[in-house]
Amino acid sequence: MKVWLPRDAAAKALGAEAVAAALEAEAARRGVALELVRTGSRGMVWLEPLAEVEIDGARHAVGPMTAADVPALFDGAAAHPKALGPVEALDWMRAQTRLTFARCGVIDPLSLSDYAAHGGLAGLRRALGMAPAEIVAEVTESGLRGRGGAGFPTGLKWKTVLEAEAPQKYIVCNADEGDSGTFADRMLMEGDPFTLIEGMAIAGLGVGATRGYVYLRSEYPDAIEVMEAAVRLAREAGLLGESVLGSGRAFDMEIRAGAGAYVCGEETSLLNSLEGKRGIVRAKPPLPAIEGLFGRPTVVNNVLSLATVPVIFEKGAAFYADFGLGRSRGTIPLQIAGNVARGGLFETAFGMPLGRIVEEIAGGTASGRPVKAVQVGGPLGAYMVPAQFDTPFGYEEVDGAGGLVGHAGLTVFDDGADMLEMARFAMEFCAVESCGKCTPCRIGAVRGVETLERVRAGDAAAVGLLEDLCETMSAGSLCALGGFAPFPVTSALKHFPEEFGAAREAAE
């Protein structure tokens, strides 16, 4: 019997290892030959651990599994009390356009043959036949923008590095996914690591870089383990090394673990950290594309940006650019989190209204209570409210509504959420994680916590002071940490003034 079961961290956190052990034990007890394939996750976290069994050529889902559900699986998956039918026919799967995550949850993450059988390496083979400028032009034409949060056109960044002259250039993958409410990078690296490796190799060929680094946060031990194993396998198979797939062109890479500093998700801070320094933000210019890692021209791209490159080369820039809305081309892997009935990863073309994501796809709150607010884009993103639910999910559209797409995480809160506390937490987090280089962030965040505590205590003058402070931080901080930390604060204040008390009315 062949069973697929995720080894994704979320599946493990919900008991996948106990299910795997029970499968092995039950197979031994029955004398059945078991082929257990540990995959990534399909992204339906509320159904994890989700087992899959093949029936008449289709993979059928059974879940959420516990060890106690295992024996019945051997009596026939179709009749299992937790049988859900063919995976691909589930609403959550059918409603998606999975390009970046096409293989995640499907293949054995560490099988290169499985990877190649599902379209892997086709993009790299095509890129090997192209000149560097053609590779960069293909990415530009796809309309791909940085998925880490800033939304900067990826092709433009690559072009700058291609045109920079230097004895050594680098590809750096930002896998320091510290934003709460986001986990797409983790899922991709655990579920389809060769996609990231392939994307980085194409980037290297495109800009003339022969070395790459993945800066991966230490809070993701499973992702580190899978990525390190995948790099070893890729090197053994000649996908990485002196001659990529026998082309005579070199590209190699390694995985570097972070050390628990949120600010290292900021690209210049990340570069300092990779160099072995304190993760202090650098002033720009110079751009990392001109003077990046060790002062050399460097492409710094998010995991999802690089992992989307292979499908662009496999299917063509026009295919990818055909999806989307306005200047937001292609697909975006949404991460639906917090207090939601159906949380997980949902990849779709840009443009889906926020309300449809929250109410229809995610099914509202887990608590069954009304949705109060959705924080879009991580800890530095604004709180958006049901009155804004017709906002289409695109960079310019969300920005126009006072929000931030960021890394496309959506954290849902029910009506029990204390927005003053969430605002205070945003400032506290900024104070804990500030690198300390610029004053508005280093001092401002501390003063922000104090001021919000005064608001809590009913101080009438404090709200006006808070608004001034937020403006100073937004305008005066060196990077997005201090610059965007006021977003959740001012949006909470705007939408829920009553929670900031009589103090606000008195101040006005």
């Binding site: 956190a13 570097r256 993760g279 949380g343």
Partner: protein, 158 residues
């Protein structure tokens, strides 16, 4: 347990430094390995690391003290990390953290007297669709509550 004399500690440090010789930007990987070997980055290792990398002691200390991961003394026998970030707060991690503090007899960020448990905040484990999330001795746990945390600690004799 192997004898941990000054000589063996010295040899272990040299072996780590040798293993990273010639790498680009080796300091963070070295510090991770030192902490894995000694349970922390002991103060006495800093001058030697600095010497080998041609850095000042202040520069190495500056790096060690910048990152939350690096400790200057070993943690308790069991390390409990509880996610305190937004997605977990949306599903009750504040209550979980309070329960953990009561169960362990120590405030967040501290080590219980006797060294049984170290309790730490963590800002996101990437388990945002199945929070509140925690990590107990490296094992990741989703949808945690006070009872499951108690069971995980009891299982580890803490």
């Amino acid at each position: 347990m192997a004898l941990d004399t000054t000589e063996t500690r010295h040899a272990r440090l040299e072996a780590i430094l040798d293993a990273h010789a010639g790498r680009e930007g080796p300091l963070l990987p070295i510090l991770h390995d030192v902490q894995a070997a000694f349970g922390c980055v002991p103060a006495e290792t800093i001058p030697r690391i600095a010497d080998r990398l041609n850095l000042t002691r202040a520069e190495v200390h500056g790096v060690v003290s910048f990152y939350h991961d690096f400790r200057d003394e070993p943690a308790g026998r069991v390390v409990v990390k509880i996610c305190r970030a937004e997605a977990c707060k949306a599903v009750g991690s504040d209550a979980l953290a309070a329960a953990a503090e009561a169960r362990c007899g120590v405030a967040m960020g501290g080590t219980a007297p006797g060294g049984a448990v170290t309790l730490e905040p963590v800002y996101c484990l990437g388990l945002c669709a199945c929070g509140p999330a925690a990590m107990v001795d490296g094992e990741i746990l989703g949808r945690m509550d006070a009872a499951r945390l108690d069971a995980a600690l009891t299982e580890r004799g803490a």
